[in-house]
């Protein structure tokens, strides 16, 4: 359905997106994951035909959207990262305005407005001015506006940043529902691992403009398959201790963050006793040691040496 081929975008000297390849099939929910500044929004602007890439092509049903954006725009809905609404209009008025802009008229417009309000759960607050909404309600309306013209493809740029848990849950459910019941293909961007893990079949992980991993959830997890992570928290850390860990024969990798160390080892390895001994020797007081199967978060940590959230 949508395909990015060797997309790059350069701002002055630096690449915001570098050589990105990506595809989406009809009916999928695809996740685009990356920390702030990874280049997600830039990639989205390019694939929604708002920004021209420095190099590369974007195809929608095998036709270039750069050369011919109109037919693509008709069936694509974009949820921008910013709240792009008129703050002093009500939810209903916002929807009516954008509906008119999309040349939906009369009874049909009224019906679409009602439907969308239903989907985003703002029907009972539709007469209130957006200014007075909570962050979560604004986010929901921000999504609603993109749904007015019944898009086949919905591109969402971090639709859950800065909102309460309840709204977040509501949005995640809405996304699932749109995909299941209305067969909308969705690109879901986030820097929250668990959202992407919950929603998406296939995932792309970006960092500093580069795609660092791509595949189904299982494929990505397989990057660390056969491994488990041991998360160690200590009162303080010393270099000899870390060195010791890193050079320990059975350890695959070590990532240090603040007073927390994540050690990757093969599944069958039991490091517990040795770990305690090493800590003892280095005079380090352990606060906790957790052993778990790796998550996407660990994958990211493993690939970049940094945590996803800063």
């Amino acid at each position: 359905m949508l395909e990015l081929v060797n997309i790059s975008k350069k701002f002055k000297q630096t690449y915001a997106v570098k050589n990105m390849n990506m595809f989406m099939e009809r009916g999928e929910i695809v996740g685009l994951l990356g920390p702030n500044g990874a280049g997600k929004s830039t990639a989205i602007s390019i694939m929604s035909s708002l920004v021209e890439p420095t190099a590369g092509e974007v195809y929608f049903d095998n036709r270039s959207i750069l050369k011919n954006p109109t037919s693509f725009r008709k069936v694509a809905g974009i949820v921008p990262q910013e709240i792009a609404l008129y703050e002093d209009l009500t939810a209903e008025e916002n929807l009516r305005f954008f509906g008119r802009i999309y040349q939906i008229k009369g009874k049909q417009l009224q019906k679409r407005i009602e439907d969308v309000l239903q989907i985003i759960g703002l029907a009972d607050r539709k007469k209130e001015v957006v200014k007075t909404y909570s962050g979560g309600m604004k986010r929901r309306l921000n999504i609603g506006v993109a749904l007015l013209h019944e898009p086949e493809l919905l591109i969402m740029d971090e639709p859950t940043v800065g909102i309460d848990a309840q709204s977040r849950k509501y949005i995640l459910e809405t996304v699932k529902q749109l995909n299941k019941e209305m067969n909308v293909t969705i690109l879901y961007t986030s820097h929250y691992m668990e959202e992407v893990e919950y929603l998406c079949n296939r995932i792309y992980i970006m960092d500093k403009g580069n795609l660092i991993a791509a595949g189904t959830k299982e494929e990505i997890n397989r990057i660390l398959s056969g491994e488990k992570s041991i998360v160690i928290k200590a009162s303080h850390l010393t270099n000899p201790f870390i060195y010791e860990l890193k050079t320990y024969p059975l350890v695959n990798s070590v990532d240090v963050m603040d007073k927390q160390i994540t050690v990757m080892v093969s599944k069958e390895v039991n490091l517990f006793k040795d770990l305690i001994a090493m800590a003892d020797e280095a005079n380090i007081e352990l606060i906790s040691v957790n052993i778990k199967t790796p998550t996407l978060e660990d994958v990211f940590l493993h690939l970049t040496g940094r945590a996803l959230r800063d």
Binding site: S48, S49, L50, V51, T70, R73, K74, A76, I78, P80, Q81, E82, I83, A84, L85, Y86, D88, L89, E93, F97, F98, R100, I101, Y102, Q103, V129, V145
Partner: protein, 370 residues
């Protein structure tokens, strides 16, 4: 495009205060300045203490003064108004002498003193001449001739001049203030209504419109038409207020005046578009427009008549200032009775400036993709 205009209109109806505020302030300023302008030009109260003064040349001489009007009042009223500071100075006219009642020493006082002294001197001269030649039984006519002759070739003469009596700038100051403040405040109103375009671009509303089937020129046109209308509405309200409520008659050129405001408001819309394209964010825009508007007003003759600006540099600057032409057009049509050809020049400069600024502005915005 209708949808865009409707949304903007709703926005205005929900937040009318900035618009009403600017309009109100403008009217109040023009009113205060215009009225105080009248006061200082006119009204020196006089008391006539001797019957003989009434029919004499003293009064006629004083009444001929252009820069100050002498009004006859009762003695009590005179003292009262000097006391309260309504008049800087008053005069009591006797047969041979006069008395000045001075509230504050000022240039007005000395020029009033001069005027009255001169009136008395002339009167005295006439009296003397009549006395001297009375015996010779000359006819009144001949006498008059002689006096005229004498005044044409005086023994010594004093030339007085000050700028308020300068003939080229003699018009009712109320126009200066109505035009000046009107054109000044409309810059803010227009600019603050173009600004949302910048904000919408930053917040993504603009992108939403770009993704929709709406044509881009319609998006620009909708914004510009709205800003124009709101700016024009403001000057319309202000000028109508003075026309209908205060009876300022624009020398019978009210419809023409309103019509000729169009090119100016258009150019201000264009200027705001250009500014939007140059600045990075709305804070910069606000800072810029505040400074720019004040500079334009000072250099363009909104606060004081452009004629008193003497620096060549400022005059050069004023030539690229839309406000200069706006003022020229308004003064031209109302106070100087410009012909169509004479108006054509400033009008076409404004339209040209406007077109260029819109062109450059939109081009810059599109290229920077903001």
């Amino acid at each position: 495009m209708t949808a865009i205009l409707l949304a903007k209109l709703k926005h205005l109806l929900r937040n009318p205060w900035a618009f009403l505020g600017f309009t109100g302030i403008c009217i109040v300023f023009a009113l205060i300045m215009g009225l105080t302008g009248f006061e200082s030009r006119s009204s020196v109260p006089i008391v006539i203490a001797d019957e003989e003064v009434t029919g004499s040349s003293i009064l006629t001489t004083l009444n001929d003064e252009e820069s100050i009007s002498f009004k006859e009042v009762e003695e009590d009223a005179l003292i009262q108004s000097v006391k309260e500071g309504k008049a800087e100075v008053g005069a009591i006219l006797n047969k041979d002498t006069y008395e000045l009642i001075v509230g504050v020493e000022s240039t007005t006082v000395s020029s009033v003193d001069n005027m009255i002294r001169q009136a008395y001197t002339e009167y005295g001269q006439r009296q003397k001449i009549i006395e001297h030649i009375g015996d010779l039984k000359q006819t009144e006519n001949a006498l008059q001739k002689e006096i005229d002759e004498a005044s044409k070739n005086p023994v010594f003469s004093v030339t007085t001049s000050n700028f308020t009596t300068d003939q080229t700038m003699m018009y009712d100051p109320i126009y200066q203030y109505v035009f000046g403040f009107g054109l000044f405040f409309v810059i803010y109103t227009v600019a603050y209504n173009v600004l949302p375009m910048l904000i919408e671009k930053q917040e993504g509303v603009w992108d939403r419109l770009i993704l929709s089937p709406v044509k881009k020129w319609k998006m620009y046109a909708g914004n510009m038409i709205y800003s124009f209308c709101i700016g024009y509405l403001q000057v319309l309200i202000i000028f109508s207020f003075f026309y209908f409520v205060f009876g300022v008659d624009f020398n019978g050129k009210f419809p023409e005046t309103l019509l000729l405001l169009i090119p100016y408001v258009f150019t201000i819309v264009a200027l705001s578009i250009l500014l939007t394209a140059i600045v990075k964010n709305s804070q910069q825009f606000n800072a810029f427009i505040t400074i720019l508007a004040v500079c334009m007003a000072m250099v363009g003759g909104a606060y004081w008549p452009i004629e008193i600006v003497e620096s060549n540099f400022l005059i050069a600057i004023s030539k690229i200032n839309p406000l200069t032409y706006g003022m020229e057009i308004l003064h031209g049509v109302v106070n100087y009775g410009y012909s169509l050809e004479e108006l054509f020049y400033p009008v076409s400069i404004l339209l040209l400036m406007g077109t260029v600024m819109i062109g450059v502005g939109i081009h810059l915005m599109e290229r920077r993709h903001i």
